[in-house]
């Protein structure tokens, strides 16, 4: 396992050289998007797979993260937001702000929607995300439905962030830190309680855990993760738009989690990669690529226990 991870890490580091040698710079962009979506999908998997909360509004936090970067950029010319909050184009400022704000939004949405369960929870998270979507559509000072164009990516230590390779390495580094952190959280005291709540909420209550508080905490952490991904996406696309929090985006994140393997640590990485690669290649092949994707999703859900991660696990088991 360690060996496989080490090889994968080396491959990720070597990737820009490979794409350049092949003369396929588009592949590097694809890889960058995979890293960003892997973060977003993993944060959804944290509440969906580990916590058993089927949130259908996860793109809301992705969008809030992206808009944080966009709005801070829009005010970086000197005109402070509401006359008090100065803008910023420094990644060391914008990323933490995006994480903080999406965490706050998640706290509000979570506090209300976690009072429900099951289908109601799915619907209420969807409703909140759509409310945010329409809020940003009507937010004309920041481009309304056209979104905000961010003319240059945020600065970091004077690096040339216009360079695709540099940006890839920055985003990859943030991704690695994120996954290292996530691994700690999953294996922490809190992570154990969260997984207990997924397995049997009634039992956990009978042990004295008040499930609501733990679920809310997880929901906030997951929102922060998605906000981080959104902020990276805004830097990568140099653009933030309401589409980033449309319910179809929440659906895509969910598809990534399911494709990769619900509740598996690396599943969302596989899922994000599979989804984006399929999207890229199927879309180049046929206009109706979503039909093909639908069939593949069907096969994965019905045919594999636990998505791609589950499949890999069983292949490894068979080789032994």
């Amino acid at each position: 396992m360690r060996l496989a991870l080490g090889i994968a890490l080396l491959a990720l580091i070597a990737l820009p050289f490979a794409t350049e040698a092949m003369g396929q710079p588009a592949l590097l962009s694809l890889a960058t998007r995979v890293v960003i979506y892997a973060i977003a999908a993993a944060s959804l998997n944290f509440i969906l797979g580990y916590g058993g909360m089927i949130s259908f509004g996860h793109a809301a936090f992705f969008g809030v993260g992206a808009y944080t970067v966009g709005i801070l950029f829009a005010h970086s010319g000197g005109d402070a937001l509401w006359g008090v909050i100065p803008g910023s184009t420094n990644l060391l400022v914008t990323l933490p702000m995006a994480v903080l704000l999406s965490g706050l939004v998640a706290a509000v949405i979570g506090a209300l929607s976690l009072r429900t369960n099951g289908v109601q929870f799915i619907m209420i998270t969807l409703a909140f995300a759509q409310m945010l979507f329409f809020f940003f559509v009507s937010l004309t000072p920041y481009g309304g439905e056209d979104g905000i164009i961010i003319r240059r990516s945020n600065e970091l230590f004077g690096l040339n962030m216009r360079d695709k390779t540099t940006l890839y390495y920055v985003i990859l580094s943030v991704g690695l830190v994120f996954f290292a952190g996530l691994s700690r959280v999953v294996n922490s005291s809190f992570g154990a309680v969260l997984q207990g709540i997924r397995q049997n909420e009634r039992r956990m209550a009978a042990l004295g855990f008040a499930p609501y508080r733990y679920k809310l905490y997880a929901f906030i952490l997951a929102g922060m993760g998605a906000g981080l991904a959104g902020a990276l996406m805004a830097n990568f696309l140099r653009f933030a738009s309401p589409d980033m929090m449309h319910w179809t985006k929440s659906g895509e994140l969910m598809i990534m989690v399911i494709l990769g393997g619900v509740g598996s640590f690396l599943g969302p990485v596989f899922g994000a990669a599979a989804f984006l690669v399929l999207e890229t290649f199927l879309a180049g092949w046929t206009e109706n690529w979503q039909l093909a994707l639908g069939i593949i999703l069907l096969v994965v859900v019905l045919g594999t226990k636990g998505g791609i991660a589950g499949l890999l696990d069983r292949m490894r088991g068979r080789m032994k």
Binding site: S189, V193, Q199, N200
Partner: protein, 250 residues
């Protein structure tokens, strides 16, 4: 002061009165058995005592404090422990992890996201100590979903004990156990009962008569009799209502 005091508890489901003015106490050092035919409202009563179900009227007090309106976790924090009739455990987790989770619940520090659960040696030590000497000791690394019914029943009790409750509500701990397993469970409950007062809901009369210091009989949501083992054995009303055609009680 009673460890548990239930006063005039009433619960209605539409026109059906599931709990009809029930009052009972569990005193220190007591194993109070609650018996009654199927559908007498025993589980409904237990669920109200635990806080899963809100009563329509009446009071529940734990060690002198009114807990009628408190949630399940709040009551558990005050020392109420329970086992489930249909075992309710963490299915994917091992035997040992289920017990460690109960210890974790008692010790707190559970919002920590930067520690390592495997490194909280104290939890695992206590789980191992509870497992030691039981039939489950050598099954400690087995996931709950792979345990037999009897093993699950034993684990239910160990998990409840790991929480170190001041009072235990046991909902049919013998249900579905074989003869040997029942005997072991009776022995175990007698040991536990020496330290922890219990309200024991049970169908197995052999177990009830072997363990109980007091018996209450619940029929159609009402307590029709309450007294010592001998009183209940001799009570004609109980024989009529509950034991029916049985000539001899065990």
């Amino acid at each position: 002061m009673s460890v548990l005091r239930v006063s005039h508890l009433v619960k209605r489901f539409g026109g059906l009165i599931a709990t009809d003015d029930v009052s009972l106490t569990v005193e220190e050092g007591e194993i109070h058995a609650l018996i009654g035919p199927n559908g007498a409202g025993k589980s409904t009563l237990i669920n109200q005592l635990c806080g899963e179900l809100a009563p329509d009227a009446g009071r529940v007090e734990l060690a002198g404090r009114d807990v009628t309106r408190l949630s399940v976790p709040a009551r558990v924090a005050m020392g109420l422990g329970r086992t489930f009739q249909v075992t309710s455990l963490l299915e994917d987790a091992t035997c040992r992890a289920n017990i460690a989770m109960a210890v974790q619940a008692r010790e707190g520090l559970n919002f920590r996201i930067w520690d390592r659960i495997v490194a909280r040696q104290h939890l695992w030590d206590q789980a191992d100590a509870l497992l030691a000497g039981t039939a489950l000791a050598e099954r400690s690394a087995v996931a709950v979903q792979d345990l037999s019914h009897g093993e699950r029943k034993q684990l239910e009790l160990l998990v409840a004990l790991a929480r170190k409750p001041r009072i235990l509500l046991l909902d049919e701990p013998m249900a579905g156990l074989g003869h040997v397993e029942s005997q072991e469970m009776i022995t175990r409950l007698r040991e536990v009962g020496a330290q922890t007062p219990m309200l024991l809901v049970e169908h197995d009369m052999e177990a009830v008569f072997a363990l109980a210091t007091r018996i209450s009989v619940l029929v159609y949501g009402r307590i029709i009799a309450s007294g010592s083992v001998e009183d209940i054995r001799a009570n004609p009303e109980v024989r009529e209502a509950y034991l029916g055609a049985e000539d001899e009680l065990c």
